[in-house]
Symmetry: C2
Subunit: 278 residues, 2 copies
């Protein structure tokens, strides 16, 4: 369980999206606590293993957590820009590693928000060719600075991008939490390509079998990552000097920030400064 | 290209679902002609590489085909019961091999028709644990004779099977060409499990992201197999004494057989006796 490096007083550490899991099922024993058969104990508004105690989240300047579920933050990573790595960062790192993004692989990232911008940075550091598929060309310059090789607008009028990219990608990660036409994007995958869904749209979406059958494509899902893998992601980000682009926020302004989150008007994650809690 | 064993006059040979392909794209060069980027030349009502000549299918006592697209029929396999192997057999063999059905793997086959009954026989010969998920228990005894270890009814009233089998299968192959609730079946997959669609329902089907995300599941598609793999399937079937269960038909009765195909009232494939063509 966990990564078995004891933490000491004064260490720089962080807690991710879950603080416990059953510790005995196959996924837990395999370091995939996020897929714990009984369900991991989520950090925010989850339920402890006792089945009744509510977890209270991390909007606080103190938190009690089992050391097996605490991550080591490398010295060169700033704390505020690292906080989103424990959610958005690992959500992208895990599928990029599992589906083997790397040299010679063409990776498409749908959506350039909190998740997407981490996907671009990590896939680029993995030496994959990275394309962003975004609603408009608005964020093109920022994406290229993050390491994107290519940038395409996906507005329904842009049939040209879709024609040109047919059968192009080895891996597409769809970061959107709104419904899109999966068939349209599946057709952009090459033989044995995979599209991974990491967002959770509210409604089901129609899918045609032909989109999968034509080139032995897969549509898959992935959620955050295990403790070991989250530590590996932090170490990887440390090595490649990767952190999240954030807007640091005083807790007193949280009600102003929320509507901007809903409108996707944030570059690229809000982080609450815990100093403002005092 | 092909399997490079020249055929001689008098050899027992067969032709499958396609008779040619572009021979130069990645999939063709990799022995995956069924995924030829330009599309393989289908045996039935296809178009030759010249872009205009119609292929005329196999309902005849002679056919001209390039030897690279002709399969060797092993001596111990009867010709009539082998004919469906070149379509139904390879359609099941290819995904069972690609997604590594074998000892210790739990395989579910949805539907026990022409495709499904071949899936049961092949998965059993691969030493996987095989379960059939069928509309009713009607074909249970026949399935067990074919090698099925377990048999479940999937009528909507049978919530018990679905509860019991949640997270059970490593691999499910859906042979149905009618729409089903994919979400319901995806939930039967364990961590990293895959459901492969080999039938082609007419309409799109609603899919929820949660069904995939919860256990890093995949929904994939597969179509027949390449020439090398089709030969490997025939050799495998020869070794394990596997052939299709058929009803042999005189061509004169084809109009009586057709409505029975539509009603799925055939055990398990009709094969036309080419002697009746004379």
């Amino acid at each position: 369980m966990g990564y078995q490096v004891p933490h000491k007083v004064g260490d720089r550490v962080g807690v991710g999206c879950f603080v416990d899991s059953c510790r005995k099922c196959g996924p837990c024993l395999g370091g995939l606590e996020q897929y714990c058969v009984e369900g991991p104990t989520l950090t925010y508004n989850g339920v402890e293993r006792d089945g009744q105690t509510r977890t209270q989240g991390g909007y606080s300047n103190k938190i009690v957590a089992d050391e097996n579920y605490v991550l080591r933050i490398p010295d060169n990573l700033p704390m505020d820009r690292t906080a989103p790595l424990l959610c958005a960062g690992i959500t992208m790192y895990s599928p990029l590693m599992h589906w083997k993004a790397g040299p010679g692989k063409k990776v498409g990232i749908i959506g350039l928000g909190g998740l997407g911008h981490m996907g671009v940075k990590i896939a680029h550091a993995l030496d994959a060719e990275v394309s962003v598929l975004s609603h408009s060309l608005k964020k093109q310059d920022e994406a290229k600075k993050m390491g994107a090789d290519k940038f395409y607008a996906t507005t329904s009028s842009d049939q040209e991008s879709f024609e040109k990219l047919k059968g192009y990608f080895d891996l597409i990660i769809n970061t959107l939490s709104v419904e899109i036409d999966w068939n349209r994007y599946l057709n952009l995958l090459t033989l044995d390509g995979t599209m991974v869904v990491v967002g959770l749209p509210e409604n089901e979406t129609p899918l045609g079998a032909a989109s999968l059958i034509n080139a032995r494509r897969s549509l898959a899902g992935s959620v955050i990552g295990g403790i070991r893998e989250t530590q590996a992601m932090l170490d990887f980000c440390s090595k490649h000097n990767i952190a999240s682009d954030i807007e640091l926020l005083q807790i007193q302004k949280v009600n102003e920030a929320y509507p901007r989150v809903v409108k996707s008007d944030v570059r690229y994650r809000f982080v609450i400064d815990t100093k403002s809690l005092d």
